[in-house]
Amino acid sequence: MTTGVMVGDVTQIPPGEGRVFLVAGRQIAVFHTHAGEVFATQAECPHLRGPLADGLTGGTTVICPLHDRAYDLRTGQGLKGEPTSITVYPASLDDAGKIWLSITD
């Protein structure tokens, strides 16, 4: 079942950075790009559990801070030779600046 969840105001995340949100007992990394978009992914890197929200972002790429594994925030696809991919969750901003995620159980 898919549920829409409001996780908070976009001002909770500085532009270009990510933060981990606790959503119904589950940790999800949410990113706020300079272009003003929001994206949500699994919180830990599949390689060695690095905190993705602490990674560097550029456009729609995030790079894990531990070993530089790179992923596409839109699709979760591994980039730059990274074979694994990460789970992504549909995320959007409403007119009031609130971040909404769709979580499928």
Partner: protein, 814 residues
């Protein structure tokens, strides 16, 4: 638009390679391609003919383009058709058997044939070579030789160049008594000097091959078939077979008949076009460019690329400027590399050489103005990849000439790449083997950055980067692609660091996002952000517009991230000195916050490891000590020994100087981390000789300043920058050097690479002798940076960004 027709005369290594390059540039959509090949085979690797001759490979194993390849790529191939005429007026080529093709563009790649020097009795009455005399150039020559040698006991090979030596060896392997007859005074005279040629001769004679030098053959004896050779000096050599490998002769007759300008070969311009006809291109051994005809394979690759760029319009200004000749080969099992000249040619030429005849090792380099202009490596060619690159790019050589011949200071490379097994791990951080790198190159990644991206090799600690680069070059056979982006400060902005600094200043770009918008078309690149942030801080100091997302996580929370996402906290402790009260506060904090590990660092400080992000501000507040900056690309710390205060050997106050250094440079960002040390005497207990900057007291108030030392993944003794008379001067020159490094080093380039890249003489000229008049400017810039530096742990009081220290935010809607 209908397709043009490209006709290629010649299906050897040059013709087929050129067609491959044209197809790789989308030329298949632009041209209908038709090829003529005189031989009966698809394109094969002529360099490997000797393997066919000595039986280690079959003919089909040396094919590069089997016949399927032509069909798959839509190339029409006329096999066994010798093109005899070109009618340029009506644009038609015609073969001896009458096959005609019209062309819009023509490519002549007819190569060369064996040169048969004038000798009486070499030819039979029918004009063909006498029975038992063979040229050595094609697969058909090989099979003829293999047939005939079965009934021979004694074979003479005329020519002691690369081909001749391999042919002579094959004859020996096949059981004949093998003789080499050579005109010059020593073997391989194009590649080797007299000493090298002598060593090679000995090695060859040890294999059982007879070598005759300074022999000019005047006559081939025998009625119906060969019975011997007569030399100019009157001597004779009995033999029942002769292989002629005395050089090549360009197949340029077709050019003559077509009315093209032909000297030693068909004369071409820088686009590889005939100088007479813009629709006729020429590549390979039948082309003469700027007076030179090349007989090696590497120049041919270069020519094919230029031609393909030009003919497809991919780069209409592509130009060939000639090739520098360097070659790496195995002659009769002996490893050999040769480049440029083999004897000094001018008075200023400097010769560096090493010879160990017993082992068959010989190395000789010719250096002109600090650049390599020639070299010979025999026996041990482990430095070949590096030297050939330095030769090709004309790059400056390290002052330590010995390091050109041998690996010094680092664990010696005991085995060559040839011997290295495929499963040998090259990158230990990411577990990448030699075989994986080879596979990646085979898939078409032909530059070090491309291979590193695809395999992750070199992306851990980075200490294997050079080896990875050399391996890529080795797998590419020296034919590595130059990736211009390696010279850029960040990949997305095509500017070197000094140029980028200029543009940033001119346009007043003060934040990382402003740089992306103005110079990279708005395209953000994650990995470039910290590099740009570091640069902008260096340029603008207090006026830098700090965007925290541009910094690595360590710089956002002023602590060093650990493998489990926790952080380590290191307070400032200059020279490893603290008060009992500070020590007690550190202990109290460790107890209060249940810090899992308390550890002394290599920089003589105390590390509190395993701290959650949330606790960082509280811990800083409780410590009441400034940040130790143990997390970033910045000044880190200054170690010290006890110095003259207590030590009976002390000559200078190393602890006091360490404190002054730390107070002055703390919080200064730089391209790589800066670890410093001071030593109170040359016993060097604080390891000042292997630091980015080290000051060593030598008495009478004097200090030696060493720079570019390293004791980490790379070990290097620092270079002596200068000797100064006071602690103030240590601070002055340290600051000036650091600023010079900040403005000129690549991001993440440590001082040991930077100093080696520029050379200590250059650094000393700028920093000490003020050769470029930069001293005042560097000192002023450093002073501005010092004034703008601050203690980031003050953010404990006022966090800079939302949720800066929260590792988890509660979702509001749940």
């Amino acid at each position: 638009m209908s397709k043009e027709k490209l006709v290629v005369v010649g299906n050897g290594m040059a013709g087929a390679r050129a067609v491959e390059e044209i197809i790789a540039r989308g030329g298949g959509d632009r041209f209908d391609i038709v090829m003529f090949g005189d031989e009966r085979y698809g394109n094969y690797n002529r360099i490997l003919l000797s393997n066919v001759l000595n039986g280690s490979q079959n003919a089909d194993e040396i094919l590069i383009n089997p016949l399927d390849w032509y069909a798959e790529n839509g190339v029409k191939l006329h096999l066994g058709e010798f093109v005899s005429d070109i009618d340029r007026a009506s644009k038609i080529v015609q073969s001896k058997n009458g096959v005609r093709e019209h062309y819009d563009r023509l490519l002549i790649a007819t190569g060369s044939r064996a040169f048969i020097p004038p000798m009486a009795g070499a030819y039979a009455a029918d004009g063909k070579l006498k029975t038992g005399v063979f040229g050595y150039r094609t697969l058909d020559d090989c099979s003829d030789i293999l047939d005939y040698v079965k009934k021979c006991k004694k074979v003479a090979t005329i020519g002691g160049g690369l081909l001749g030596l391999e042919a002579a060896r094959a004859m020996m392997v096949l059981g004949a008594q093998s003789h080499i007859v050579h005109l010059a005074g020593h073997l391989l005279e194009m590649q080797l000097d007299i000493a090298g040629g002598g060593l090679l001769r000995k090695a060859i004679e040890d294999m059982g091959i007879h070598v005759h030098v300074k022999k000019s053959t005047t006559e081939v004896l025998g009625g119906d078939s060969v019975e011997g050779l007569v030399f100019k000096d009157g001597e004779k050599l009995d033999c029942d077979m002769v292989i002629v490998a005395a050089g090549i002769k360009p197949n340029a007759e077709l050019g003559v008949r077509a009315g093209l300008r032909v000297e030693r070969a068909i004369v071409v311009d820088d686009h590889m076009r005939s100088v007479d006809d813009p629709n006729v291109y020429v590549v390979g051994e039948c082309a003469q460019h700027r007076g030179r005809v090349y007989g090696l394979v590497a120049p041919l690759w270069d020519q094919a690329k230029v031609l393909a760029d030009h003919i497809t319009g991919k780069n209409a200004s592509a130009a060939y400027h000639g090739s520098k000749l360097a070659t790496k080969l195995k002659v009769m099992g002996i490893e050999l590399a040769s480049m440029g000249i083999n004897e000094p040619a001018e008075d200023r030429d400097e010769v560096v050489q090493f010879s160990e005849p017993k082992k068959g090792t010989y190395k000789k380099l010719i250096v002109r103005d600090g650049r390599l202009v020639g070299g010979i490596l025999m026996g041990d060619i482990s430095k070949a990849a590096y030297l050939m690159q330095a030769f090709d790019r004309d790059s400056p050589l390290p002052e330590e000439r010995l390091s050109l011949l041998f690996d010094l200071g680092t664990p010696s490379q005991k085995i060559t790449f040839d011997e290295m097994p495929a499963e040998a791990q090259v990158c230990n951080c990411n577990g990448v083997t030699k075989g994986a790198i080879g596979a990646c190159v085979a898939q078409g990644k032909r530059s070090a950055p491309a291979v590193m991206d695809a395999t992750r090799a070199g992306k851990g600690c980075g200490s294997c980067k050079q080896t990875v680069g050399e391996l890529v070059a080795w797998f590419c056979g020296g034919e590595i692609e130059d990736d211009p982006s390696i010279h850029y400060y960040v990949p997305g902005i095509p500017l070197r660091k000094p140029d980028l600094i200029k543009v940033i200043k001119e346009q007043g770009l003060k934040s990382v996002s402003a740089v992306f918008t103005a110079l990279a078309g708005g395209e953000e690149d994650a990995m470039s952000k910290p590099a740009l942030a570091s640069l902008l801080i260096t340029i603008w100091n207090k006026d830098y517009e700090d965007e925290r997302d541009a910094r690595f996580i360590n710089d956002r929370v002023h602590a060093n991230i650990q493998k489990d996402g926790t952080f380590s906290v290191v307070p400032e402790m200059p020279g490893g000195v603290c008060t009992p009260d500070e020590l007690r506060r550190i202990a109290d904090v460790a107890v209060k916050y249940n810090v899992p590990l308390v550890k002394l660092t290599g920089g003589q400080r105390i590390d509190l490891v395993g701290v959650a992000k949330e606790e960082l501000p509280n811990i800083w507040r409780d410590l009441g000590m400034p940040a130790g900056h143990a997390w970033g690309k910045s000044y880190r710390t200054c170690k010290s020994c006890i110095g003259n205060e207590f030590c009976r050997f002390g000559l200078g106050d190393s602890m006091g100087l360490a404190l002054k250094i730390e107070r002055r440079f703390r919080g200064i960002d730089s391209p790589g981390k800066l670890k410093l040390a001071t030593a109170g005497c040359p016993r060097n207990c604080s390891e000042a000789l292997i630091k980015d900057v080290g000051a060593v007291a030598i008495g009478d108030g004097k200090w030696e300043i060493y720079i570019g030392g390293a004791g980490g993944s790379h070990v290097r003794k620092g270079d002596l920058l200068c000797i100064v008379d006071s602690e103030d001067d240590v601070l002055l020159y340290t600051g000036r050097f650091i600023q010079f490094y900040r403005e000129n080093a690549k991001f993440k380039e440590r001082t040991y690479t930077f100093v080696e890249r520029l050379g200590i003489e250059r650094v000393r000229a700028v920093v000490v002798d003020d050769s470029d008049g930069l001293a005042v400017q560097l000192d002023t810039a450093m002073q501005e940076s010092i004034a703008a530096a601050y203690d980031p742990w003050r953010e404990a009081i006022a966090p800079k960004t939302a949720n800066q220290f929260n590792s988890i935010v509660d979702a509001k809607g749940t």
